[in-house]
C-alpha cells in the first residue's frame, strides 16, 4: 500500500492534479474514478529473483564516505543484508572471493542522454531536444527513449546501474527527465525506476539564446530570464486554480468544476508542489545566482545545477541553498561559458560542504565514471587537499542518489538498500580497472567472465556479419 501511495503521489498531478495521499478526506470511490489514469507510463519493472550472494574479503567503498577493507557483503532478495567480518553464508548463497577486488554501490549517472540521443547518432534517432519552442516543459524524455540503444549495455559494463535521462538544453524548459534502471527491456516502462520522482530540465545561458535568437527569442540572457518568469507566472495561476478545485472536492463540493488540463503547466505545477525536481543546466556562477533568485521569487527548490563549470565560484551559496553541483572532471573550452573550468571544481564544492556530483553527459565517459572521479580527486590532492577514494566515490553514488530523491534506496551499500553492487578488479578510479560483475537489485546483470550471458541489444544482432553480434 505504501508503494501504491508513493506512486500515486508521484504521478497524481500528472493526470488530474489530485494528490490522493495528501488528501485523506477523499472518499475511496472518488479516488478510484478520478485516479484511474493518474499514473500513466508507470514503471513495470519487477525485481528479478536471484540467489542470495556473499562476497568475501573485498575492499568496500560504502558510498557514504566510508571505506571498509577486507570485509564481507551479503545481499538477498534484492537488498543489502549485511556488511561485516566473517558473515554467515545464507542458505543457497553464491559465494565469491573478493580478495584483491573492490566493491562500490552501483554507479549513478545523473546526466545521460542514452536512449534519447542513441547510437548510431543519426537524425532518425535524434529525439532529445524539442526545438520548436523555448518552453516545452510538457514533453517527457521517456517518450523518446529507445531501449535498444547499444549504449546502455556499455554503461552497464562500466558499473552504471541507474541513469537519469534528460532532455537536451536547447530550451529554457526542456521537459521532464526520467530515472531508469540500466536493465534490458523492450519498453521504457520496464526500465523506469519504480516511484522515482520526475525531474524538470531547465537550461541557462548560451544554448537557448543561440537556438532561439533568430526564431523569436529569447536572444539574450535577460530574454532567458524573462522567459522563465513568464512561464512561472502562468504556472502559479494554474497551481492556484487547481489547488482551489482540489480543496473544493475535498470539502465535498460536488458542483466544483475541474479546470482544464495543460501538460506544460502540469509539469511546472509539479515543481511548485515539490514533486518534480529541477535539474538546471547552468555553467556560469552569476547565472546560478540569478536562477536561485528566480526560484525564491516563485517558491520552488532547485535540486541541482548541471554542467556547473563555475560552481566553485559560488560553492558556499550552493551549499547554503542545498543545491547539488553536477560537474565534469575537466571539460572546457567548447563554449565561452565553459571557459573558466578548474579541475578541482568538485573538490572545492566539497570543501564548501556542498553536494558535488560528477556526471557524464557522454556515452564514452559514462563507461568509466570512476576514472573521471579519479582525475578530479587527484587534481585536488595535488593542490594539497587530502581526498580519499571513499570520499570521492560519493560524487557518483550517494550524492547522485540524493539529487534524484533516491537516497533511501540507492547510492550506499548499507543494510536495507537496493543491492546495486559493482565488483571491480582493483581501485575503480584507475585507468586499468574494470567492472567484473554488476548486480542490480541483487540480480547479476553483467559478468565479464561470462560474455555469452551478457545482454546485447537487438541492434547488435547480425549487423557486422550474419552470424556475429556487434562486440
Amino acid at each position: 500500500m505504501r508503494t501504491r501511495c508513493l506512486r500515486l503521489l508521484t504521478y497524481a498531478f500528472v493526470a488530474t492534479g489530485l494528490s490522493a495521499c495528501a488528501s485523506t478526506s477523499l472518499s475511496d470511490s472518488q479516488a478510484t474514478s478520478e485516479l484511474e489514469n493518474s499514473a500513466p507510463f508507470a514503471s513495470t519493472y519487477q525485481t528479478p529473483s536471484s540467489p542470495p550472494t556473499i562476497i568475501r574479503g573485498a575492499t568496500i567503498l560504502v558510498g557514504n564516505g566510508e571505506r571498509s577493507d577486507n570485509t564481507d557483503l551479503v545481499f538477498e532478495q534484492g537488498k543489502i543484508v549485511a556488511l561485516g567480518d566473517n558473515l554467515k553464508v545464507p542458505a543457497g548463497a553464491v559465494e565469491l572471493n573478493g580478495k584483491g577486488y573492490w566493491l562500490t554501490p552501483g554507479i549513478i549517472d545523473v546526466h545521460s542522454h542514452m536512449g534519447v540521443y542513441p547510437n548510431p547518432s543519426i537524425s532518425s534517432h535524434a529525439d532529445g531536444n524539442e526545438i520548436v519552442s523555448p518552453t516545452t516543459a510538457k514533453v517527457w524524455a521517456e517518450h523518446s527513449v529507445w531501449p535498444q540503444d547499444p549504449n546502455f549495455e556499455k554503461a552497464l559494463a562500466g558499473g552504471v546501474t541507474t541513469a537519469q535521462i534528460l532532455p537536451g538544453s536547447a530550451n529554457l524548459f526542456g521537459g521532464r527527465g526520467v530515472v531508469l534502471k540500466n536493465v534490458p527491456s523492450i519498453t521504457v516502462m520496464g526500465m523506469k525506476f519504480p516511484d522515482a520522482p520526475h525531474s524538470l530540465k531547465m537550461a541557462c545561458g548560451e544554448n537557448p539564446k543561440r537556438v532561439y535568437g533568430e526564431k523569436g527569442g529569447p536572444g539574450t540572457r535577460m530574454g532567458n530570464m524573462a522567459g522563465y518568469r513568464a512561464a512561472w507566472i502562468s504556472a502559479a495561476e494554474y497551481h492556484k486554480k487547481w489547488t482551489e478545485y482540489e480543496k473544493a472536492v475535498a470539502s465535498g463540493d460536488k458542483s466544483a468544476e475541474a479546470p482544464s488540463r495543460d501538460l506544460e503547466m502540469e509539469t511546472l505545477r509539479g515543481v511548485l508542489k515539490g514533486e518534480i525536481k529541477v535539474h538546471n543546466h547552468c555553467y556560469r556562477a552569476d547565472e546560478m545566482a540569478n536562477m536561485i533568485e528566480l526560484s525564491k521569487e516563485f517558491g520552488y527548490q532547485i535540486t541541482a545545477f548541471h554542467h556547473a563549470v563555475e560552481a566553485y565560484k559560488v560553492a558556499p551559496l550552493l551549499a547554503k541553498n542545498d543545491i547539488c553541483a553536477v560537474v565534469w572532471a575537466d571539460w572546457w573550452g567548447f563554449k565561452q561559458e565553459a571557459f573558466d573550468m578548474v579541475r578541482e571544481n568538485a573538490a572545492l564544492i566539497e570543501l564548501a560542504k556542498g553536494c558535488a556530483i560528477i556526471h557524464s553527459d557522454d556515452e564514452i565517459q559514462i563507461q568509466r565514471l570512476p576514472q573521471e572521479v579519479g582525475k578530479a580527486m587527484a587534481a585536488a590532492n595535488r593542490m594539497g587537499m587530502q581526498l580519499t577514494p571513499a570520499q570521492a566515490i560519493t560524487w557518483i553514488t550517494s550524492n547522485a542518489a540524493k539529487s534524484l530523491g533516491l537516497s533511501d534506496r540507492i547510492g550506499t551499500l548499507a543494510k536495507g538498500m537496493n543491492a546495486d553492487v559493482v565488483l571491480w578488479n582493483g581501485n575503480p578510479m584507475s585507468v586499468y580497472t574494470k567492472a567484473e560483475k554488476v548486480w542490480i537489485d541483487g540480480a547479476l546483470m553483467f559478468d565479464r567472465s561470462n560474455p555469452e550471458k551478457n545482454h546485447t541489444s537487438d541492434f547488435n544482432l547480425g549487423i557486422i556479419s550474419p552470424e556475429g553480434d556487434r562486440p
Partner: protein, 420 residues
C-alpha cells in the same frame, strides 16, 4: 626575403640566448618510460644540458651550476604527442572568430595551411603543456571540399613552435566525404581521383596553364600546387576513413596512384588490420571509442588498438573523445584504456611519443636517449594512469610552468573559500 632572413636570425639569436640561460638539470633516479621495453625496476639519471639530453646512466655527477631533481623512482617520459588536435587554431569552440580550423571558401581547400593560423599563446596550448603534452599534429577540418588542407606538427613551446609546416595533406572520405561530395562516398572517391589527375596534369603543364591554354581543373591553382607533393610521393595523404570497405578501397587506390598514406579514424580498422599492415600504412585514432556512432563505425570496439598492433600496424593516438583539443593531454587516458583492453604498455607509449616522431620526421624527439631533444615530463606516477600529474615539463630543454589560467582561477577561489 630580407624580412624572412631577419626573422630567422632573430629566432636563432633568441634560441641561443635561451640555451645559454637554461641551467643544466640532473634528474636522478628516474624510471624511464619511453616506449622501449625496459626493466621497470631500473632507475636512471638523466643529465640535460641546454636543449639536449647529454647523459644517461646511474650515479651521474651533479653539474656545476645545475639543478638536481631527485625523481625517487617517478617516471620520466618523452613529452606526449596527440596526433589529431586543433590546438592553437581553436580557442573557444563556439566563438567563430577564435576558430581557424576550416574555411567555407571553395578556392581554399588543399591549400589551407593550418600553421598559418597557429597561435602559440593560446590558453589551451599553455594548459595542455602544463599537463604533459608537448607535441601535436594540428589537423585542419573540412570546409568546402573533401580536402581539409595541410596538417602541421607543432611543439607547445613559446618560440620555434612549428616543427613541420606541411606534415600531411588531409582528405575526408566515407560519410564525411559523401556529405562534402554531394551525397555519395563514391562521389568523394571520384573527386579525389579527379583532383590527383588534375594535379598530375597541372604539374607537367604549368606554363600552358599560365597561358590559359590548358583545360579547366577541378581545383584552384593553389590547391593543385598543394597536391603536387602528394603525387610526387613527398607528402603523405592523411585520409579520414572509418568503414572496413572504405579502408580497403583507399588502400587499393593509393597503390594504383603510388601515393603514401596515413589513415585516420579507422573505427573498423581491426576488420582489415592485415591489409593495413601489409600496405605499411600508419593509423591515427582514439582507442577509447567503442560505440557505433554512425553506420560507418558499426564495428567500433575497445580492442581495436590491440588487434591493429598485433597485425603489425604502426599506431598513433588522439583523444580523449571529442575533447581532443582543449584536453588534448588526455590522449594518455585514451592510451591507458587501450592498455586496459589488451594493448602492450610500451606500444601505447610509442603511440603517443615515438611513433609520431618517426612518421613525421622528428629525429630528436620521442625517446629518452643521449643526443635527444630534452622535451620530457617527470610524472608523479605512471603517465598512463589518470591519477598521475606532471611534476616537471621541459620542451627543448626549457622548463615550463605547471601553472595555467585554470590553476590561477583555482587558487583565487580556494583562498576565498579557506579565508571565510
Amino acid at each position: 626575403m630580407t624580412n624572412l632572413l631577419k626573422t630567422t636570425l632573430f629566432v636563432a639569436l633568441l634560441s641561443l640566448v635561451s640555451m645559454a640561460n637554461a641551467a643544466d638539470i640532473l634528474i636522478k633516479n628516474a624510471r624511464i618510460v619511453d616506449g622501449q621495453l625496459r626493466d621497470a625496476n631500473q632507475l636512471s639519471d638523466i643529465l640535460i644540458k641546454g636543449s639536449m639530453v647529454v647523459g644517461l646512466g646511474t650515479g651521474l655527477s651533479t653539474p656545476a651550476n645545475g639543478r638536481v631533481i631527485d625523481a625517487q623512482g617517478r617516471p620520466v617520459s618523452a613529452g606526449l604527442f596527440n596526433a589529431d588536435t586543433q590546438l592553437g587554431v581553436r580557442e573557444v569552440g563556439s566563438v567563430a572568430d577564435t576558430v581557424d580550423s576550416s574555411t567555407s571558401n571553395e578556392h581554399i581547400t588543399a591549400s589551407l595551411q593550418i600553421s598559418d593560423a597557429y597561435n602559440p599563446s593560446s590558453v589551451a596550448v599553455a594548459y595542455n603543456r602544463s599537463l604533459g603534452l608537448t607535441h601535436s599534429l594540428i589537423q585542419p577540418s573540412n570546409g568546402a571540399g573533401i580536402f581539409a588542407g595541410k596538417a602541421s606538427v607543432v611543439r607547445l613551446s613559446d618560440t620555434g613552435a612549428i616543427l613541420v609546416d606541411t606534415a600531411a595533406m588531409v582528405v575526408s572520405l566515407g560519410e564525411a566525404g559523401s556529405d562534402l561530395a554531394g551525397g555519395s562516398r563514391a562521389a568523394a572517391m571520384a573527386m579525389l581521383r579527379e583532383a590527383l589527375e588534375d594535379a598530375r596534369d597541372y604539374s607537367k603543364n604549368r606554363e600552358s596553364f599560365a597561358r590559359g591554354s590548358r583545360r579547366d581543373y577541378s581545383l584552384s591553382r593553389h590547391d593543385l600546387e598543394a597536391l603536387v607533393p602528394v603525387i610526387m610521393r613527398q607528402l603523405p595523404l592523411l585520409v579520414r576513413v572509418e568503414r572496413a570497405s572504405d579502408i580497403e578501397r583507399v588502400l587499393d587506390f593509393a597503390e594504383q596512384q603510388k601515393i603514401t598514406l596515413i589513415l585516420s579514424g579507422v573505427g573498423e580498422g581491426w576488420r582489415v588490420a592485415d591489409k593495413i599492415a601489409k600496405a605499411k600504412v600508419p593509423v591515427i585514432f582514439d582507442p577509447i571509442n567503442n560505440l557505433p556512432a554512425s553506420y560507418e563505425t558499426l564495428g567500433m570496439r575497445a580492442d581495436n588498438a590491440k588487434i591493429l598492433h598485433e597485425a603489425g600496424v604502426k599506431i598513433m593516438f588522439t583523444g580523449m573523445g571529442w575533447q581532443n583539443t582543449h584536453n588534448a593531454y588526455l590522449v594518455r587516458q585514451s592510451a591507458g584504456n587501450a592498455v586496459a583492453n589488451g594493448l602492450p604498455y610500451h606500444v601505447a607509449m610509442q603511440a603517443i611519443t615515438s611513433n609520431p616522431a618517426q612518421i613525421f620526421g622528428l629525429p630528436g624527439y620521442g625517446e629518452i636517449k643521449v643526443g635527444a631533444e630534452a622535451s620530457l615530463v617527470l610524472w608523479s606516477g605512471d603517465p598512463l594512469e589518470v591519477m598521475s600529474n606532471p611534476d616537471l615539463v621541459l620542451i627543448d630543454g626549457k622548463e615550463y610552468s605547471l601553472e595555467s589560467r585554470a590553476t590561477r582561477l583555482r587558487d583565487r577561489y580556494y583562498s576565498r573559500l579557506t579565508s571565510d
